[in-house]
Symmetry: C2
Subunit: 288 residues, 2 copies
């Protein structure tokens, strides 16, 4: 596998661009192929079978680009699909956001005994218990609690500001049982939620660490590429190409919000049907 191969980052929609943002900070020279399944978004209220099928289709479609690393930048998809997706693509290196998030949570509690770790995430992520298992595997004495927060993604995608009373009320309602239960660390278990991080940090009691798994996920990729001698060391800036299954009117504004920078190229549209009939891709750099 050449060191110039791209990193694939995939998500149900555009929230995974928060992971791209973090990757570009630590690995600026890497080429990144981002895939947002905007025709079938969200994944958070769907079954494990369906989400696994969707993720498998996307990776099949992109594997001809010979990626050196695939990041499932969606907590729901990681929680529901990662183990079976790894079996389905044994020759690819595939990582997700749950293990890095769990590692960051455990690092955040330091050495206190019986640390209280809370999670907010989609219904499907909470139901999967993937974070609970990952955290208890690292810290068997942790006291874990989780709340499904299904309104936060649509609230963020609607573009409401952090001082909107409805946004504040939703965050307060969702966090109340976790705060009552006691909290040392709160994990934001969805790549959309960093947009609300400032508000969430104000609503939790002082001293609670709020963990955003995107940064930890990027560090994890950096570490793995370095260990495998696959990290690019050239000075140029990597290419970012975006694929979407629906070119929705809100793509530009949402992409800018999650990525934190203006995207000066339009996304490339991939019909959901064509995911079943992969084509030979064009060269990554030549097409830009």
């Amino acid at each position: 596998m050449p060191v110039t191969s791209p990193i694939v980052v995939l998500d149900s929609g555009l929230g995974g661009l928060t992971v791209v943002r973090a990757l570009r900070k630590v690995l600026p020279a890497e080429d990144i192929l981002y895939f947002g399944d905007t025709a079938r978004v969200p994944y958070g209220n769907k079954s494990g079978d369906t989400v696994t099928r969707f993720v498998g289709e996307i990776i099949s479609y992109l594997q001809d680009y010979d990626p050196k690393h695939v990041v499932i930048a969606c907590n729901t998809a990681t929680a529901l699909a990662l183990p079976s997706i790894r079996k389905q693509f044994p020759r690819l290196t595939i990582t997700g956001v749950v293990d890095p998030g769990a590692q960051a949570a455990v690092a955040g509690v330091g050495s206190c005994t019986a640390p209280r770790i809370g999670l907010i995430a989609t219904e499907a992520t909470v139901r999967s218990r993937a974070y609970e298992h990952a955290i208890l595997h690292l810290r068997a004495d942790a006291v874990f609690s989780a709340t499904a927060t299904p309104l936060l993604v649509p609230i963020i995608e609607e573009g409401r500001s952090l001082d909107d009373p409805l946004v504040r009320l939703a965050v307060q309602q969702y966090l109340a049982p976790l705060c009552k239960h006691g909290l040392d660390v709160l994990v934001l278990g969805c790549t959309h939620y960093p947009i609300l991080k400032d508000l969430i940090s104000h609503v939790v009691p002082p001293g609670v660490a709020v963990i955003d798994s995107a940064e930890q996920c990027a560090e994890d990729v950096n570490h793995r590429l370095t260990a495998a001698a696959l990290r690019r060391t050239d000075q140029g800036e990597g290419v970012l190409r975006c694929f979407v299954t629906d070119d929705t009117p809100k793509f530009a504004s949402l992409a800018e919000r999650f990525l934190g920078l203006h995207l000066d190229i339009a996304p490339e549209w991939v019909s959901p049907e064509s995911l079943y009939t992969p084509r030979r891709p064009e060269p990554l750099r030549a097409a830009v």
Copy 2:
């Protein structure tokens, strides 16, 4: 076309079961095939091209059942796709929920001059201007205004009660500009919204008529079947079969909420892929 042919009702998810509920009241002997595209729900934040493609796939899949009537029981799908879907399937009778809703709205204002008609709906439905065109076609002097209310579907699907302060706040925020603008009639332009009808009726000023297009849509189907001599007159109760593209854990509770009765049969799963390779269907009655 035999009088015993079924009626097809399709929706992005399960909200269209409110239309099935209304149909069963006025046409109890009819067989109904309900299709909920739960793997790709929602449609309200997607593009017209994508929604038209999805609706076309579903009708292609079900047309071998030789339906005597197809109802697009989703406001977004009706608003974005109905005209091109009718061209794509010229031999089928296909109706939606927008025209019946517009007719009910205009009937609701009576003979007052310059009636003020408001709409709440998904972003895509509002953007399409389908209701505006349908209403102004019937009443050129109507003063139309619309607000996209993207949080209402996830709020309803989360199962929150009507006295939840967040539900009340969302409804108040969304309706404030319409109420300020002045309102004689408010159209609920999404098949989910009848669940919130009691709350909405309390938030709008007294005397404002709140129009639910599901009932009017069922009356419209009844009228058309009668006119075409296709209405079943036998006494038995019609069969209801449900197809879904994702058998989500919440199917039973949501279906019961929208349908208003317990579904004693599980839905039949149709994989999104199989929508591209229609099979020969089994006989409708024998399979039940």
